[in-house]
Amino acid sequence: MGMIVWARTLAQGIRKGVLQVQAIGRVYWTRAHTVWQSLPETAREQIRHWRGAGVAFPIEEQRALLAEYYERFERLAELICDAAFAGEGAPFQQEYAQVRRWLLRAYPHLKPYLTAHLNCDPSDAEFGKRTAGKATDAMEALFVAETLDEVIRYDQGDLIGRLERARSALYRYGDYLREVIAPSG
């Protein structure tokens, strides 16, 4: 009898240990995966992060990022526009998801600089709260929703104005960078 109880306790102990190891493994895997996902895309970005110099973003790099960002933004604007015009987002969803992924990754780098050139409107923050549960600026509000259908469905007539505000901010930021670069160049 004592032997059986002992064996059962041992078996339970082993099972508990296995479960614990599995749970720990899962936690570490999730962490590692998250870290991997959050890693910057380019080696240059990575080095900047390691050096802790995320704040000082060289002007030339800002300009390069802005140029690339602007292209993606225009594509996003086109997709939103096409979807709003067609009244449905599904046909454009795949490309939207692709552009959105890139913008979500790049925008945190641009935001500290762009904010100074961005006009605020309460509808932008409200849109973010409605779709993603967090306040957003005009730019973020354009790609915070996971689907293009949500972008259209939750629009209360502010979408076009929001697109214009975001685009104007990019223009102004571009002008600013040109002015900063011009004296030295």
């Binding site: 604007a77 086109e78 526009c81 096409d82 709003a84 015009f85 007539g157 979408l159 076009i160 697109l163």
Partner: protein, 95 residues
């Protein structure tokens, strides 16, 4: 008399595309109708004109230089944006 050069379909497409673009601006009330000299708002017609322009631009796309392609895309986007803005205004006025 020398035989005249044939009109290829792409030239025709460009020409028609310009007509539809102009027509869309007219039906949105941004340009006066050349026949009456007056502006008017006919959003449903504007939508059809934009749809047609979009279709024609798609057919023309493979024959365009990248710069020209971007220019057409920008023009069509402007049209659509203005259409949506006009549509919003009309809805607001209805309320």
């Amino acid at each position: 008399m020398e035989p005249s050069e044939r009109t290829d379909v792409y030239t025709l497409l460009r020409y028609t595309l310009e007509l539809y673009i102009a027509s869309a601006w007219q039906h949105m009330g941004f340009l006066p109708d050349p026949a009456t000299g007056q502006t008017h708002l006919a959003l449903e017609e504007a939508r059809i004109a934009i749809d047609c322009a979009d279709f024609l631009a798609g057919k023309l796309k493979p024959r365009l230089e990248p710069q020209e392609q971007r220019e057409y895309e920008r023009r069509l986007r402007d049209l659509k944006l203005n259409f949506l803005a006009k549509q919003n205004d009309t809805r607001m006025e209805a309320f």
